[in-house]
C-alpha cells in the first residue's frame, strides 16, 4: 500500500502475474491444470512461495475446464474441451475465440432493452448449454402479472428448457469444486503470508463491446459505420462496469485493487482521435466510479501506450496516489519521468527476455528499472504479460532475486 500511495516501502514489492507457469514447473500439462484445480492450487502454492513473491495471483487466471464444459462456453478454445469445436491439444493454453455475438443490425434492439437482449440472445450465444434462455419472457409479459403467471411456466415447460435442472446441477457441481479450490488456495497462502494481488475486476466499456458483443473487427468497423449507436452502447455499459465490482468489494473489503485488462486502446489499434472519442472517456468514467467507492483501479495497458501518455498523465495528476498503472511494452522509465509522482507503476520485464534471455540480462534489466522507477516509492515489479508459461525458471528466479538485491530502499 505504501508503494501505491507513493511512499517508499522497505523494499520494492514483487508482484508478477502468471498463468500456467507454476503448473508447468510441476510437470503438469495445460489440460491437467485446467481440469484439476486442486492439483493446480498445490503447484501454484509451492512455486509462488519458493519465489517469495509479495502478492500472488488468483487461481482464476488459468480458468476451469469442467465449469466451461458445463456451460458450453463459446468464446474460448481450450485443451480438453468436451465440445470438439472448442477443443485444443493438451499443451495449448486457453485462447480467445473471436466472434460477433451481437450483429451489426441488432444495435437498436440492444439499446432498447439491454438486459432482455443479454438474457435472450447473448447468454445462448455465449453458452451453448444455456440456449433455453432464448425463450425467456420479455418485459411486456413480466410486468403483467396476468401474463407472467402463464408465460414463466411456459418458459419452464418448453422443450428447450427440458434439461434445465440437469444442466444447472452440472454447472453448480463444477462451480462449487472450483470455488472450493480457489478458497483453499487463498486461505492457505494468506496463512503463509502471501496475500492475493487482487480479486476484483472490471473492463473498459469499449473492450466489453469488442470482446463479447461485436468482436474486434465488428467494433472497429462500427467506429466508421455506426459511431452514434456505438457511443450509445458504450454509455449504457459504463455504470454496470462500475456496479459489477460492488459484490466483491463488500465481501472482501481488504482487496481494494480492481484489475482492468485493456485490449483495444493500445497504440496502433486505433487513432488518437478514435481513442479520445470511443475508448478513453468511458474508461475514465469507470475508474472515477471505482475511486469514488474507495477502490484502486489498476488498468493493465497491454501492448504500447506511449502515444497516449499525455492522457495517462492527465488522469494520474487528477488522482494522485489513487491508482496503479500496469504496463505492457510501454517505456516505463519515460512513464516514471512524466507521471511517476502521481501514480504507482507496475511492470514490465519483456516476455522475450524471460523466455530466451539469460539471468544476467534479466538482472541488468531489473537493476535499471528498479533504479529509475522506484524512486519515491510507486513501483511494483511485474512482467509485460506476466510470467510467460514457457519462461526459463532461472530467469524467473533472476527477476525475483533482483527485487531483494536491488530493491531495498536505503533509509
Amino acid at each position: 500500500m505504501d508503494a501505491i500511495s507513493l511512499k517508499e516501502p522497505d523494499r520494492v514489492p514483487l508482484t508478477p502475474l502468471a498463468h500456467f507457469y507454476p503448473m508447468i514447473q510441476k510437470g503438469m500439462t495445460k489440460q491437467e491444470a485446467m481440469y484439476d484445480s486442486s492439483k493446480s492450487a498445490q503447484a501454484a502454492i509451492e512455486i509462488y512461495t519458493e519465489l517469495n513473491v509479495d502478492q500472488v495471483i488468483s487461481l482464476a487466471q488459468i480458468n476451469n475446464g469442467p465449469l466451461m464444459d458445463a456451460l458450453g462456453l463459446k468464446y474460448f478454445k481450450w485443451p480438453g474441451a468436451a465440445d470438439e469445436k472448442q477443443k485444443l491439444s493438451d499443451n495449448q493454453p486457453f485462447q480467445f475465440a473471436e466472434g460477433e455475438y451481437m450483429k451489426a443490425d441488432e444495435y437498436e434492439e440492444f439499446i432498447a432493452d439491454p438486459t432482455g437482449f443479454s438474457i435472450r440472445k447473448l447468454i445462448p450465444r455465449h453458452f451453448s448449454m444455456l440456449s433455453f434462455f432464448s425463450e425467456f419472457p420479455d418485459v411486456g409479459s413480466l410486468t403483467d402479472g396476468f401474463l407472467s403467471v402463464l408465460t414463466l411456466p411456459l418458459f419452464f415447460s418448453s422443450p428447450a428448457a427440458a434439461k434445465i435442472i440437469e444442466t444447472i446441477q452440472e454447472i453448480t457441481k463444477a462451480y462449487k469444486n472450483y470455488i472450493g479450490d480457489m478458497i483453499f488456495y487463498e486461505n492457505q497462502l494468506k496463512k503463509m503470508g502471501f496475500p492475493l494481488q487482487f480479486l476484483n475486476y472490471t473492463q473498459a466499456p469499449f473492450d466489453l463491446v469488442s470482446d463479447f458483443l461485436r468482436g474486434m473487427k465488428g467494433s472497429m468497423l462500427d467506429m466508421y459505420r455506426k459511431p452514434e449507436e456505438l457511443k450509445k452502447l458504450l454509455d449504457i455499459l459504463t455504470q454496470p462496469a462500475i456496479n459489477v465490482t460492488a459484490d466483491i468489494a463488500q465481501l472482501f473489503p481488504r482487496y481494494r485493487v480492481v484489475f482492468i485488462a485493456l485490449h483495444r486502446g493500445a497504440d496502433g489499434f486505433m487513432s488518437l482521435k478514435q481513442f479520445e472519442e470511443f475508448y478513453w472517456p468511458t474508461l475514465t468514467t469507470v475508474m472515477d466510479g471505482l475511486i469514488k467507492r474507495g477502490l484502486i483501479p489498476m488498468p493493465h495497458f497491454q501492448g504500447k501506450y506511449d502515444d497516449r501518455f499525455p492522457y495517462l498523465e492527465e488522469y494520474a495528476k487528477r488522482n494522485k496516489g489513487k491508482l496503479i498503472y500496469r504496463f505492457g511494452q510501454s517505456d516505463i522509465i519515460r512513464a516514471k519521468e512524466m507521471f511517476g509522482n502521481y501514480v504507482c507503476l507496475r511492470g514490465n520485464v519483456p516476455s522475450s527476455l524471460l523466455n530466451v534471455g539469460t539471468p544476467l540480462q534479466i538482472e541488468e534489466y531489473m537493476k535499471n528499472c528498479i533504479e529509475k522507477v522506484s524512486v519515491g516509492g510507486g513501483y511494483l515489479i511485474d512482467a509485460v504479460a506476466g510470467i510467460p508459461d514457457e519462461a526459463k525458471p532461472e530467469n524467473v528466479k533472476a527477476m525475483c532475486d533482483a527485487a531483494f538485491k536491488y530493491g531495498v530502499y536505503r533509509k
Binding site: 473487427k217 496502433g268 514457457e390
Partner: protein, 209 residues
C-alpha cells in the same frame, strides 16, 4: 489523384461504391480502374507508415476492397488479362496458436500490393510448412504468432526448413504480439515486422532486389 482514388483513401465507403458503379456504367476499362485501386492502396499504406492510419483503417479499407472486387472481379475475368504477381509469400500462424486477425491483415496488404499469398491458416505444424514450401516454392515465408509459445514453434519450423536444405531459398519474416529483435535471433529468422506495412516493405525489399 482522381476523386475515386481519393474517396478510397479517405475510406468513404458509400461514395466509393457509387463512383465504381458509375465508372462501370460508363464502360470504363476495368484494368484502368484496377490501377486506380492500386494507387489508392499505396496511399493508404503511406498514411499507415506516417501514423495517420491504424489497424481499424486497414480493416475498413479491407471491407471497401472486398466490396469493390465483388463488383469488379467478373468484369476483370471478362478482360482475360491476369495480373503478373511480384512474388510468392507463404503465410501462416504457427503450431499451438490460433490467433489470426493480424495474419489476415498481412495477407490482405500483401495481396493488395501485388504479391501471390498462400495462407495456411492457424495452428500450422512445422511439417506442414515444409511440405507446402516444397510444393509452392515461395520467395518469402511469413510466420505469425501471438502467444509466447509461438517462439519455440517458430524456431522448430525454421529448424526443419534448414534440415530439409531449404533455408537458403527463402527469406523469413516473423510477426505477432510479443515478437521482437531478440526473437528473430532466437528462432533464426531474417527480420520481424511490427505491422502489416512492415510485412509489405520487407517483402518488397527482398523480392524486388
Amino acid at each position: 489523384m482522381s476523386n475515386f482514388v481519393n474517396q478510397i483513401i479517405e475510406l468513404n465507403e458509400k461514395e466509393v461504391i457509387e463512383l465504381l458503379k458509375e465508372k462501370l456504367a460508363n464502360k470504363e476499362d476495368p484494368l484502368t480502374i484496377l490501377e486506380e485501386i492500386k494507387e489508392a492502396m499505396k496511399g493508404i499504406g503511406k498514411k499507415f507508415e506516417n501514423k495517420e492510419y491504424f489497424l481499424p483503417d486497414l480493416i475498413m479499407s479491407g471491407e471497401i476492397l472486398s466490396q469493390i472486387f465483388e463488383i469488379l472481379s467478373p468484369k476483370l475475368k471478362e478482360t482475360n488479362v491476369s495480373e503478373k504477381k511480384k512474388g510468392k509469400v507463404l503465410l501462416g500462424t504457427v503450431a499451438g496458436d490460433i490467433h489470426d486477425i493480424g495474419k489476415d491483415v498481412v495477407k490482405f496488404m500483401l495481396d493488395a500490393n501485388g504479391f501471390d499469398v498462400l495462407d495456411l491458416g492457424v495452428d500450422v505444424s512445422a511439417d506442414k510448412f515444409v511440405e507446402r514450401m516444397k510444393e509452392y516454392k515461395p520467395n518469402v515465408l511469413a510466420l505469425s504468432g501471438f502467444l509466447t509459445l509461438a517462439f519455440d514453434a517458430m524456431k522448430e519450423t525454421i529448424q526443419k526448413i534448414k534440415n530439409e536444405g531449404l533455408r537458403d531459398y527463402v527469406k523469413i519474416m516473423i510477426g505477432g504480439g510479443t515478437v521482437d529483435e531478440r526473437i528473430v535471433e532466437y528462432v533464426g529468422a531474417d527480420a520481424y515486422g511490427e505491422s502489416a506495412v512492415d510485412a509489405v516493405n520487407l517483402a518488397k525489399k527482398w523480392i524486388e532486389v
